[in-house]
């Protein structure tokens, strides 16, 4: 019985991690209707920035995390202003080709600068190991992931539904022409949203290095996971990808524990079943545009 809870705990932590990594993509893909396959590159950037700060410059881990967010967001703004905004009105195929090209460039660039070996972030001792909670093994690092990601999800949901910025963003997405007629600076809203999504990816990258590992192939290796989360969750809200991440995280971990022979296929099976049942994802609406 306690094993069941340990598995559940690990699954939730893994799911939360998937969510932080993928929710930026849910925002660009779902809210801005832009296919950004280079999303993983921003995650990788966050991971490497955190690793360099902690390992080489001796920063404390918790100070490096926000910086991973900020730097990834800054790179996001830069690219959005110079490159991405020209593609908002282009076809999805153009967007896919452009962003996948960007992904390959990021892989080559990181390989050149940082080398191809896998690197690890030196964690503070307080985050290492497990402690025992009523017989359930609770990993300290995984617990931290759950706490950080839980708070983040709550904040995101509030920003989108309760703040002025949230309503501006939703208006800009639903009808950019009318929104700009009402005095909303649509390009600015989009730039900010895009940067925020990249920042989240950066933070996710920094958090995931310990569990998923960090090497120059990160954006390609995990692209499929980001896409599954967004596909299963649907892209009209934050709740959808959040529940999808949890479902997939728990499903993946439990599948690998209970039926290791089937392990890697559980996550795909879940996806296929959900998409047959609800083709637009758990919380999807029929395509708006």
């Amino acid at each position: 019985m306690t094993t069941l809870f340990t598995i559940l705990f690990d699954g939730v932590a893994y799911g939360m991690l998937l969510f932080v990594l993928a929710c930026g993509l849910a925002v660009t893909l779902g809210l801005m209707n832009f296919v950004n396959l280079a999303h993983g590159a921003f995650a990788m950037a966050g991971g490497y920035i955190c690793a360099v700060l902690v390992n080489n410059s001796g920063w404390p881990f918790f100070a490096a995390l926000p910086l991973a967010f900020v730097t990834a967001a800054a790179i996001g703004v830069l690219l959005e202003r110079t490159l991405y905004r020209h593609l908002y009105t282009r076809s999805h195929l153009d967007q896919v080709l452009f962003t996948i090209g960007l992904t390959f460039m990021s892989v080559a660039a990181v390989d050149y600068i940082m080398g191809s070996s896998r690197i690890f972030i030196k964690l503070p001792a307080a985050l290492e190991g497990q402690f025992d909670l009523f017989g359930v093994g609770v990993g300290r690092y995984r617990l931290m992931i759950i706490v950080i990601c839980g708070l983040l999800t709550l904040a995101l949901q509030l920003i989108l539904s309760k703040t002025r910025f949230g309503s501006r963003l939703r208006a800009a997405v639903d009808d950019p022409r009318v929104a700009s007629g009402l005095g909303i600076n649509v390009p600015q809203v989009f730039a900010f949203t895009f940067a925020f999504g990249c920042g989240l990816a950066g933070l996710g990258g920094a958090l995931s290095a310990e569990i998923l590992g960090l090497d120059p192939y990160f954006p390609l290796k995990f692209m499929i996971y980001f896409l599954i989360v967004v596909t299963v969750g649907g892209s009209s809200s934050i709740t959808g990808p959040f529940l999808a991440s949890l479902l997939l995280g728990i499903g993946d971990v439990a599948g690998k524990y209970y039926v290791p022979k089937m392990g890697p296929f559980v996550i795909y099976t879940i996806m296929i079943v959900i998409l047959i049942w609800r083709p637009n994802g758990l919380f999807g609406r029929a395509a708006a545009r």
């Binding site: 094993t3 340990t6 598995i7 690990d10 893994y14 080559a108 390989d111 080398g115 191809s116 070996s117 896998r118 690197i119 690890f120 030196k122 290492e128 190991g129 497990q130 093994g137 990993g139 690092y141 310990e210 569990i211 998923l212 590992g213 090497d215 192939y217 290796k221 995990f222 996971y225 993946d252 971990v253 439990a254 599948g255 690998k256 524990y257 290791p260 022979k261 392990g263 890697p264």
Partner: protein, 390 residues
Amino acid sequence: MSIRSHILLAAGAAAAILALTPAYAQETVKIGLILPMTGGQASTGKQIDNAVKLYMQQNGDTVAGKKIEVILKDDAAVPDNTKRLAQELIVNDKVNFIAGFGVTPAALAAAPLATQGKVPEIVMAAGTSIITERSPYIVRTSFTLAQSCTIIGDWAAKNGIKKVATLTSDYAPGNDALNFFKQNFTAGGGEIVEEVKVPLQNPDFAPFLQRMKDSKPDAVFVFVPAGQGGNFMKQYAERGLDKAGIKVIGPGDVMDDDLLNGMGDAALGTVTAHLYSAAHPSAANKEFVAAYKKAFNQRPGFMAVGGYDGIRLIYEALKKTGGKTDGDALIAAMKGMKWESPRGPISIDPETRDIVQNIYIRKVEKVDGELYNVEFATFEAVKDSGKTKK
């Protein structure tokens, strides 16, 4: 002089240069070095390239009156690339050796070309047993998985490890490692209590490790591709398998010298069987490690040693043939060759053209603040036991 005579003179000079070129070409021995210099296997390529450069710095680039020229090509560990590059090297560049080969499929892809062109293929990294059987022109200076996995199986059974759970990556080398280990470990009276094959692209070991923990073995046998070893060890410690008294054993790939320090103290106490450790206590190795560190600011790993011995094999074979580059003569010269490598005494098995070497049992310990695989037992002159043709 008329314009006509100018042209004649120029043509004459050109003809003279052309006539000289083949004579010059004969004085050069070309080695086509095909390595993964980019992609997931790039660290293998870099180590071997470094080692070849180091050997040539130390021993000069002339052997038996011939100049050695290395042409480096990057195949990114994709066998299609390897095949194309090997063909170009043999047909256009007229190389006398092809060498390198980071992964088994790459070494196999080049094998038919080596046979057709009668060009010796020196395998410096790839580790599946069958490779040397695919062409009479293949010689290997790296290792085979069977060498280290059978030894660790024997050692575990004789050293108080009764129950073992295995965790191996689900691809050909992983399955090889598992089978060779299992065969010797169970023959020695050991029992496999849990057998898990993890997907090659596995992000998170948590559920598999939990399964390992729950099956309560004496030790976990692990083989995952280089690079994932660090993830595995970190999560192994996070889950408290070390505190539960479960040891980690395996072939030494997981504990390669260039990854070891990145793993942190989680790796302490891991027992592996392998051909090389940067901490091997011989004069030849101390010199090699010092020179390598000085030149590349890094520790050499077992891949570097495979490359270092590979280029040495080429040098020695050329010395024996007096600089003759006939493929059959070179292969004949290599068979049975013996020397003292940084890893210890090695030789080329005259029957299989595969390497015969000592396999060491090592334990990860802290030496001068750095992690090293410290050798404590030696199995001498181990041949590859995985050949299908006996």
